[in-house]
Point group: C2
């Protein structure tokens, strides 16, 4: 069945959404159908994939709270081979709405499983998580086969890593014994910058092979692409950002015996 | 009494913590005692002010949940004139711990008021908020006189602004009629970059005088300083980052009739 990957890091602004959009697009371009699940109330992944707020009629809030099916929520995007389950700000009320449901951490998993059993079966499901270790991120980790961690090459970003790994271990012990780390991808890397190189050295020393070989460089085309409502691979296919996410997709495929 | 400013934006990685640390330091350097309240479970403001996890014996979690007084939690830092109420990851369980308290959104406000009435009276209290519009950020907005919004000059950052302003309006109507916007400060600005200039133009057109004149440039010294456990004003006083936060402090003082 599909491989489900949660893209998570509670540190803000590290490149979670940029990775969900562009890794998803690169995997689809390599012939592997993808579903991106926007699980952040900010809805940035939806915007970046060209689905504006007015086009988000059925959302991940409906999936989680209102009992909609995955097939009602998943929609085509302008990216060939890539579907999206969009998000709106309603999603931010999910924790409060589910506080009395003892099975609240399993809701996304059961909806994804039901949807895929009913025939919606991409090769990859990428879940874009909010900058928090809240109920939404826990739902994503319970539903996932693995967690892919974007790590900005900055000091504060490194500080939060141990808490994130702790949460992954807790979810594995409490609810999802098969949960693994898909890998750690270094983002906004600037090889002229001491701090970037130092964080890379620290990460490779402490995390070893978990760290992808691919480094995603700081590249202005990556931050411009969302304002044109498309992934960087469509906005500027020859950019450093596009090349990096294409290389990352190849590494993800290789790690999963598909490369 | 002290002016209480919540530094908030649910978009992650826009410079909230960097602004709390360095605006705080610049205000203290200008002769105005400051208390920084670290209200983010990541504890980045505590780290950036030189207070490591082992030194955080009493924290904002204790203030909010365990009934500690402000005078028990606030501590001196190595920055002259700047005190800190530190945070640990415990703070992330606050929403769950307080779910049955009907007065949960007023807890920080009553603790700050009691502490200041008892004699702890800086000129400014800066509350560093997490990247979310959750109970912690709402507590900060209820306790505050105003909200200072760091706005990264990037497309996704602009997208979240209307939701943030909506939340400020809701808090003003529901709990804190005096809540104002202190201002919007553009961060990580790169004048060579089209997107930066476009976001600045959009922000000034839509928000007018709310936008501070001071632009905080992208400056590597700002991101290096936390790895030396000190504000940029102490790490590299002549850097573009230091100069920008000194100018921002002057603007904040002018807006409050103290400049
Ligand atoms: N490699 C890169 N080079 C340049 N800009 C980038 C890069 N990756 C991401 N960005 C930009 O940096 C900002 C933060 O990235 P993004 O929004 O993807 O992070 P996030 O972790 O999803 O944030 P949040 O925590 O708010 O969900 C965005 O404006 C994005 O366009
Ligand atoms: N003007 C700047 N120039 C260069 N780097 C900066 C600047 N401001 C902040 N940074 C760096 O960018 C990253 C994000 O900033 P910061 O952590 O202050 O944002 P935040 O809004 O507090 O993030 P979070 O949403 O996770 O709380 C940090 O690594 C910080 O050191
Ligand atoms: Mg995001
Ligand atoms: Mg912060």
């Amino acid at each position: 069945g599909p491989k489900i990957i949660a893209i998570a890091n509670q540190k803000g602004g590290v490149g979670k959404t940029t990775t969900a959009i562009n890794l998803g697009t690169a995997l689809a371009a390599a012939g592997h159908p993808v579903l991106v699940v926007d699980f952040d109330p900010q809805g940035n992944a939806s915007t970046g994939l060209g689905v504006g707020p007015e086009a988000r009629t059925r959302t991940t809030y409906d999936l989680l709270i209102e009992d909609a099916d995955l097939s009602d929520v998943a929609m085509q995007t302008d990216v060939p081979g890539l579907m999206l389950a969009p998000a709106t700000t309603d999603l931010s009320s999910a924790d409060v709405a589910l506080v009395n449901d003892p099975g609240r951490i399993f809701r996304l998993r059961s909806k994804l499983r039901a949807g895929m059993a009913a025939g919606l079966a991409p090769d990859f499901v990428l879940i874009d998580c909010p900058p928090s270790l809240n109920l939404l991120t826990v739902n994503a980790m319970v539903a996932a086969d693995s967690v892919l961690v974007p790590l900005q090459t900055e000091f504060f970003a490194l500080e939060g890593l141990s808490q994130l790994m702790l949460t992954v271990r807790e979810v594995r012990q409490a609810a999802n014994p098969g949960l693994r780390i898909e890998g750690v991808v270094l983002t906004m890397y600037d090889r002229r910058n001491n701090l970037s190189r130092q964080v890379e050295a620290d990460a490779r020393e402490n995390l070893g092979d978990l760290v992808f070989r691919t480094l995603v460089p700081r590249n202005v085309r990556l931050s411009e692409a969302p304002s044109y409502a498309m992934p960087v691979l469509m906005y500027d296919p020859a950019s450093a950002g596009s090349l990096a996410y294409t290389a990352l997709a190849e590494e993800v495929l290789q790690r999963n015996g598909l490369g």
